[in-house]
Symmetry: C2
């Protein structure tokens, strides 16, 4: 059900030929209220696609009626014509829904530089068709229409005490061709103010999508949107809702990791006993972005030297000669020296856990990443994307 | 001739079994003076190998009599035993040369964690044998003994007005297995003070080795050493010497790039019209470290969208929508939009040039990198290193 699991939402997914395969490529999600609360977080890349520029403005007032998403073209670096396409998309949806264009968000994903007249015509047609096909069980269709190189749709639902959260996501971390735009829409029928929605979403993404670092490459089109309808009539306990939202986002993030293109390992890097959570994140990210480490994991090689060399590049507080490293439960390095022999470590399962004990504090953070594989190189070199 | 091209230097390269292939693996370079000036720059990685920790202290006073370098083991994360090995190496050389151990530098390269009793015995034997075989034309032998995964030795010589600079280097950028330690020794018979040697070396490395960013992975053992004998009796013009030293270092850096493991393209990223040189370096480095860009070049794909997405992650001053990108002489992106068609760009040659025009100032910097290839993944996953 994904985004239509909570009350007050309708969705659709339609095919208009943006994808050469003929598969669905335009999704629409509409909030029927009574509340029309929206919040969103966006890529921090300064090179922003036109839908990002539009949506950042449109979400400012905390009111969102609908969101239109297309695959098959990123509409990024397509100039003022491309921006007008986004604007016209919002206007088309607004006109058909009887709302203000400024309350319609737009997301696009696909090849950078794609956004010509043909693209515009198809996106507008898809918007019209999608709105015509809106239904209270359209969440599944919508989740299919936003897929690009994804091998499967990503959906999650959490049932709270009288309220529900539903979500859909697309993208293969930041790993797929076309810069792997990550698009996420999460809906809830809980009663939230715009400020609450914004705060909850920022917290949830900070501990989920922001800690998925598949290949270190930042997209121009990433957008995570939360829509709240209030249709349950229930204002949830803030801590409980926040935890549930974070769990839904982490669930979707792990689905993205598990479908990362070309990857053969899903790597959880747990950094513990750090002086601060920021330190833990910095250390974990330095490992997640180290190509030598990632290639070693692909080769089932518990190469702790590459872990230490990676974390040595950070500013985090720790003594490089008093760090322990565990791989899949085996301590391979203790206090900056070799421990268990490499033969003791089994790295053949796809699920891989690396634990780094910094021994200076009590903060912890987990970063999700993937290995560097031949398929990654193939997918990202063999096709123009 | 490499390091023995200038007057006042002797060198040797010997084989003591550190390499399983039986090839030469210990090099010694000795400064016969009259001056015994030395300067060095080291990896900024906080995880430093024992030879780095030793050499950083030994070079402090600006006096260096000799340097001993071994391949076949990094002596990194080998604890106090490993540090004692480095110390004993310096003492052995000092004893045989009749100098102070504190004036002997040590470099090691190879697998992290290698530094046991057998390693120590071989390094000490190699030091003794190398000193016994020192000769004024031993530069070539020394350059062979520091090779690890290098397919060919790297040497450079510059002849100034009465003085000479010679150099040798090993490593495949930061790209090879074992974290690709980059070891460089540059010698000169010019008359330099320790302060001049240090300043000239820091300048030269900043515009050469520091701008070689093959895979973004920082070694634990990198060391670049300059030795000055003063044997020419000539104190060179400072600007002329600095330019010559930078040219020798850049020559060696380009040789490292050209031999980077698994690479199929040598990529020059020229960032021009930046607000500052720092901005230009930051922008160039962001592209050099972007796996999607690097995979695209491997696939001969002039994917300018990935260039813009990479530079959008920097803090440098520029307007992402007013940047031009050229690939091998063809402008593929102008003012944040598509320009020449991809078919107009020929990326088949190994030498690849990407020019990024930021249009905000007049600073320029060039970063050297390589593409991301199947061979890179293979080399760094198929072997424990």
């Amino acid at each position: 059900m994904s985004v239509t699991a909570p009350q007050g939402f309708e969705a659709a997914g339609v095919a208009v030929g943006l994808k050469s395969t003929g598969k669905p490529d335009v999704a629409v999600v509409v909030n029927r209220g009574p509340l029309k609360v929206g919040a969103a977080v966006f890529t921090s890349n300064r090179a922003k696609a036109n839908p990002i520029i539009w949506s950042q403005q449109a979400v400012q007032d905390g009111v969102v009626e609908a969101i239109v998403l297309n695959s098959g073209g990123a509409n990024c670096f397509t100039g003022s014509f491309g921006f007008q396409t986004t604007h016209q998309t919002a206007e088309k949806a607004a006109e058909l829904l009887g709302v203000s264009a400024g309350d319609v968000l737009v997301c696009s994903t696909g090849l950078i530089g794609t956004g010509d007249q043909v693209f515009r015509g198809k996106v507008l047609a898809g918007t019209e068709q999608g709105i015509a096909e809106l239904s209270a069980d359209g969440g599944e269709a919508a989740s299919l229409a936003i897929m690009t190189t994804d091998s499967r749709p990503k959906r999650a639902v959490h049932t709270g005490e009288g309220w529900t959260i539903g979500g859909m996501a697309k993208g293969a971390g930041m790993l797929a061709p076309g810069l792997a735009t990550m698009l996420v829409v999460v809906t809830t029928d809980a009663v939230l103010t715009a400020e609450q929605a914004d705060a909850h979403l920022r917290h949830a993404t900070a501990v989920s999508f922001d800690r998925l670092d598949s290949d270190g490459c930042m997209s121009t089109n990433d957008q995570v949107t939360l829509l709240a309808s209030g249709a349950s009539g229930i204002a949830p306990d803030a801590a409980g809702f926040r935890a549930a939202l974070a769990a839904v986002c982490l669930d979707l993030a792990e689905q993205l990791q598990g479908d990362a293109e070309g990857a053969s390992h899903d790597i959880r890097i747990v950094v513990k006993n750090a002086a601060s959570e920021d330190d833990a994140v910095e250390v974990g990210r330095s490992v997640a972005r180290n190509n030598l480490f990632k290639a070693a994991i692909f080769g089932n090689d518990p190469n702790w030297g590459r872990v230490l060399a990676a974390i040595g590049t950070t500013e985090a507080q720790f003594d490089p000669y008093d760090v322990d490293v565990w791989m899949n439960g085996v301590r391979v390095c203790t206090a900056g020296g070799p421990d268990a022999p490499r033969e003791a470590v089994d790295l053949t399962p796809r699920a891989t856990e690396v634990v780094i004990d910094l021994k200076v504090g009590d903060a912890v953070a987990t970063i999700l990443t993937n290995d560097l594989t031949h398929d990654y190189v193939h997918e990202n070199s063999a096709y123009s994307s």
